[in-house]
């Protein structure tokens, strides 16, 4: 993997810190000691994920490799690295910000598309991100309807969020541009698992990319941090 160093933008990180309002700072203090990758659950299961390399590329300005990489989207967000880091780098915030940057370049939309349903259908329509609706057939017949369990526990059958609150978060979402951000992606419509057929399963599992998101051309991502031994089949 040839490092075209002249293709790096070495002023990116310094200019980026003030813009990101203090969410991201401290990466220049990194000792490259590897303490974060040692305890990282994602690095243990993914063939080529390595937080130390991502910080190294960010600070040195190799942002092309970071933004176009699959590894950036494999982070578990468990902030164990922030807990053990000897220089206190809050790595999950870096991943969160870099993912926003990668999406602005057209990468990562196949994952965000699958999550968009939780924001548009659940969060904005009934104010709760995780909806009571179950899709796992085993859970539906074994455990039964959650509303009965809530009633047996002496609580209202369904948690109510007042429409005033829903009106307010919808306004916040419109004002801050989140609504038209989601309209561009168009979420994955989720199928009923109990009526699953091979065709539906193939469509549900496939991660096809939205053609374009707004005026941003979308691309597939690449394993930029090492050869995916054994990991390539679900690339």
């Amino acid at each position: 993997m040839l490092e075209k160093a002249n293709d790096w933008s070495d002023t990116f990180y310094d200019k980026w810190k003030p813009i990101a309002m203090g969410f991201v700072n401290g990466a220049e203090k990194c000792l490259q000691c590897g303490k974060c990758t040692g305890q990282c659950p994602a690095a243990a299961v993914n063939p080529s994920y390595n937080p130390r390399k991502i910080i190294y590329d960010l600070v040195n300005g190799n942002i092309k490799r970071v933004l176009s990489s699959v590894e950036l989207w494999q982070c578990f967000f468990c902030s164990g690295c922030f807990a053990t880091c000897p220089v206190d780098i809050n790595f999950p915030f870096f991943v969160f910000m870099l993912r926003l940057g990668a999406m602005s370049q057209g990468f990562g939309w196949e994952d965000v598309k699958q999550l968009e349903k939780y924001a548009e259908k659940d969060y904005l329509q009934d104010g709760i991100t995780v909806s009571p609706e179950e899709r796992n057939p085993y859970v539906i017949e074994e455990r039964g309807d959650i509303a009965d369990i809530r009633q047996k526990a002496g609580m209202p059958r369904q948690r109510e969020v007042s429409d005033e609150a829903i009106a307010e978060i919808n306004m916040i979402s419109d004002l801050s541009g989140m609504t038209n951000f989601m309209k561009k992606i168009g979420g994955v419509e989720l199928y009923d698992c109990s009526k699953c057929t091979p065709k539906i399963e193939e469509k549900c599992k496939s991660k096809e990319l939205p053609k374009k998101v707004g005026n941003v051309k979308t691309h597939y991502r690449f394993y930029n941090y090492g050869v995916p031994i054994g990991g390539a089949d679900n690339a």
């Binding site: 299961v45 989207w73 578990f76 164990g80 993912r99 990562g108 999550l115 526990a153």
Partner: protein
């Protein structure tokens, strides 16, 4: 046996400045209300029993942490939503108590951030004034685990159903101790405050190698890349089954609870791994010890470990 006496990482100065309020704003968590209602009912009853009246508001929406860190909502979109939720508690003049690591970290992180950055606070308040609300940033956010640890003497007095003969393993979750390491009451690498509570309630602590590991959700990996998330959860649950073989695993966050609970069925279905481990939340543990009835504990909402639930609960006198 967990070596408690040797070195406890509890940060006394942080525990000291947690106030014991008469009333507190209970921040409803989305996974708890729609998947595991036992957490909500136990929290309300336990707080009432311990003399802290929980205040529940229907205006309180989701903390928005999941949609933000799943990159669907940019931070500028979810910060006003966080400020709106905190302003609800400020209207009542109460502090907030969150039952989920994610809610606590998200409200805390953005709360501190907005207090530190005035222009952000101004622009957030500009949006909130449109709805007639205002974010002052006075009420602080506490985790239910920290509250229960702070009220441990009252718990000791109110234990009605001592948990004799039950073995408890713990899973502390990542965001409270790791992500919020400067606000949490315990040390991220070797936490022990749940073990202390278990000992107060009469139970026995067992330890296992992967107790410090993440539960495997990876925040969005369980949706985007289920195989990797299953690998990690399998490693963790097998370490629990083989080394600790507990009656209950206590977690601090409903999202960990849903992951460790439901992945047992997925692992059985996809990878033929037989697991039968009951996973309960710390509020349900407190409810168990303070003698709450079976319906309020709502263990039937849990998917995995149902036969072990039966065995363990019969041992302490609940015919489940």
């Amino acid at each position: 046996m967990h070596k408690l006496d040797k070195l406890s990482g509890i940060r006394e100065e942080i525990v000291a400045d947690i106030p014991i309020p008469e009333e507190i704003f209970y921040f409803q968590s989305c996974v708890a209300s729609n998947k595991y209602p036992g957490i909500e009912s136990c929290t309300l009853d336990v707080l009432n029993k311990l003399g802290v009246k929980p205040f529940v508001s229907e205006d309180q929406t989701c903390c928005g942490g999941f949609v933000t860190f799943a990159n669907v909502a940019a931070p500028t979109a979810s910060m006003p939503a966080v400020a709106r939720n905190i302003s609800l508690a400020e209207e009542e003049g109460l502090d907030i108590c969150a039952v989920c690591n994610g809610c606590w970290t998200f409200l805390n992180e953005f709360g501190h951030f907005m207090n530190g950055n005035d222009e952000v606070k101004e622009s957030v308040n500009m949006m909130l004034n449109m709805m007639g609300r205002e974010y002052k940033g006075e009420s602080n956010i506490f985790h239910i685990g920290a509250m229960l640890y702070k009220l441990k003497d009252r718990i000791a007095e109110n234990v009605e159903r001592p948990l004799e003969g039950l073995k408890f393993a713990t899973h502390y979750g990542c965001h409270y101790l790791g992500g919020g390491k400067y606000g949490a009451i315990d040390d991220a690498q070797h936490p022990s405050f749940i073990q202390e509570l278990v000992e107060i309630m009469g139970g026995e602590n067992v330890d296992y190698t992967a107790s410090g590991e993440c539960c495997g959700t990876g925040f969005t990996q369980v949706i985007n890349d289920k195989e990797k998330s299953l690998d990690h959860s399998q490693m963790k649950l097998e370490s629990v089954r083989d080394e600790a073989d507990p009656d209950f695993v206590i977690v601090l966050c409903p999202y960990c609870l849903s992951q460790l609970d439901r992945m047992q069925q997925q692992l059985d279905y996809r990878r033929d791994v037989k697991l039968d481990i009951p996973i309960i939340h710390i509020t349900q543990l407190a409810g168990l010890a303070l003698g709450l009835p079976k319906e309020r504990l709502a263990f039937d909402a849990h998917i995995g470990g149902q036969d072990r639930f039966k065995k363990a609960l019969n041992k302490i006198g609940i015919d489940y």
